[in-house]
Subunit: 337 residues, 2 copies
């Protein structure tokens, strides 16, 4: 009767070589401390058995896993895949494995995901939202691991924060549009997360400064191109004199632009339109979509650097890091030659 096959352990390798598991362990972390002929035999035995080191015992003894947790709102968002790419550049380099969770923009699911990740003894955590449940905050306090909140710059960060000022970014873009003479601007908002709200605040502030009315069309649905079409149709009903649209992201903006064009509206002559994030779709449109360039990959890189630095005892004088933004003035806002 054959017992359930078990994955090879250091002991199995040791038995095959005829030495103790300590020697194998040493071979793995500092091969030069092992006699050359022993080393050769160990290498052969490891490949014969297909040995794969387990990081579980180390988690158990040191409560360090050489893994960091990353919580993203959704997997289908281009913005966060760029962030993830930035994080992995740094974390892989530093020998850390990255464990992802996603929470669909809901604080309760974030809490559950954090609990899951903590049960794997992660050494540090990156969060994409600054809005957390009370239990989340308590768990993080108890776990006593470094935390970096990204995207926003929360007033009261849990620990560290890396992001940009979304309110200021929105104001800058709206002002640039107003400089083109827009009078009736609508803000199209989907899924009211923190960033969407910050952009709305910036939009309202910019309009208020010029004493223009602020129209907002919003929905709790999550962003998509077709949703952009729906929202612009609704906006045109509510504000028939509409001459400009600022959108919470490029998906909504692209959908709105396509819908406007298929109604026969000329962009930018009849309606000016801008989005946020400067995704590839904006460059494929005709005219190209004006948008706010956000340093997503850099946010990921800096967040991972600070997190891993923090894990290794480094401290940072400034808890928040503002990576800024740039405006891309595509043909959807300004008339290009």
């Amino acid at each position: 009767m054959l017992e359930k096959p078990r994955r090879p352990s250091l002991q199995d390798v040791a038995d095959l070589v005829g030495t103790s598991k300590m020697t194998i362990s040493r071979y793995l972390r500092s091969p030069e401390q092992v006699a050359a002929p022993t080393a050769t035999k160990i290498a052969a035995a490891m490949s014969e058995l297909g040995y794969i080191p387990s990081r579980v015992p180390e988690m158990l003894s040191n409560s360090r896993s050489r893994a960091i947790g990353v919580l993203l709102p959704s997997m289908s968002n281009q913005v966060f895949s760029a962030v993830a790419h930035g994080i992995e550049q740094v974390s892989t380099q530093a020998g850390y494995h990255t464990l992802y969770g996603h929470y669909g923009y809901e604080a309760e699911r974030e809490e559950q995901q954090i609990e899951q990740l903590l049960s794997f003894h992660i050494d540090g955590l990156i969060l994409s939202e600054s809005n957390h449940t009370a239990r989340t905050r308590q768990m993080l306090a108890t776990a006593a691991i470094p935390v970096v909140e990204i995207m926003d710059l929360p007033a009261q960060p849990i620990d560290l924060a890396v992001g940009l000022d979304h309110r200021a970014a929105a104001m800058a873009m709206v002002n640039a549009m107003l400089d083109q003479g827009c009078q009736h601007m609508v803000y199209l908002a989907a899924r009211m997360d923190t960033r969407t709200q910050l952009r709305e605040a910036g939009f309202r502030a910019a309009l208020a400064a010029r004493q223009l009315p602020a129209h907002v069309v919003q929905t709790s649905k999550s962003s998509s191109f077709t949703l952009g079409g729906e929202l612009i149709r609704q906006a045109l009903q509510e504000v028939p004199q509409l001459d400009s649209v600022f959108c919470t992201n490029d998906d909504i903006a692209a959908g709105a632009l396509l819908a406007l064009q298929s109604m026969g509206k000329r962009i930018p002559q009849d309606v000016r339109i801008a989005g946020v994030n400067h995704l590839d779709i904006g460059l494929a449109l005709q005219p190209q979509l004006a948008s706010i360039i956000t340093p997503r990959e850099a946010i990921g890189r800096h967040a991972a650097e600070r997190l891993i630095g923090s894990i290794n005892g480094q401290t940072y004088a400034e808890r928040t890091l503002d990576l800024g933004f740039t405006l891309f003035m595509g043909g959807s806002v300004i008339t290009l030659p």
Copy 2:
């Protein structure tokens, strides 16, 4: 001198309650086996300490982690976020945590990611590619965990497979286009993964059956809307009489359609065009993009069901499961009323 704060263990809870850690352990898995007053005190102590169970010891003793690994080619691909969603519906329900890795369509990175995931003692693994390195195959054999390959239907699956016949799907769409009278069709291909190649095979087979020439424009770059524009421009140079385009995915197709329209070509009168996956962007275009509807979320669900079934000892007579496809004949191929 205060020592480094340690996460609370069962023993800490036990000390606080004045009982043994076994009682706490029992409370966690079957509360009814614990006397009511004890239970109350335990609950209070756990919340006071902010206790979070560790799954690490269980990984060590049983080599089961109640976690499954999922390897996806990229995070930025809508198709795979739908798959991931389907997987999580099932795995979360069954109490499994899902660990993701991505490998950028490269077999070597897949190998590394698998090693990482195995070092966490995952109970099962879902792979999105059927092209693996030798060492990958050896590691999986040694690990002796269930594996489900998704998307394709490999001729020699490692274990189980859930997907669809991409060659047949491509043939069906190309035939539908040919039925509209197309004579000079080009296939636009990016990043030559297995599925892109299967679609090319279907494209060639359909054209060969009608004795029409097959033109292919391909690149190793990864898909994007702007790449679709580049590829269609190249295609028009190489095949000026081009009257139809089949694209390996909707991103390429949408980019091509937008580029064609900005050149003044009418869709579908001058050029017919179709993509694969039926993403939201296709519905936002005017005309709507014809595409192949692939059951991505269902693939994820069925893969997770079979994987978890397999982990729990179930066996499947048919190793591969074909979930089929449907054609969406948007206005980019057929002339709508």
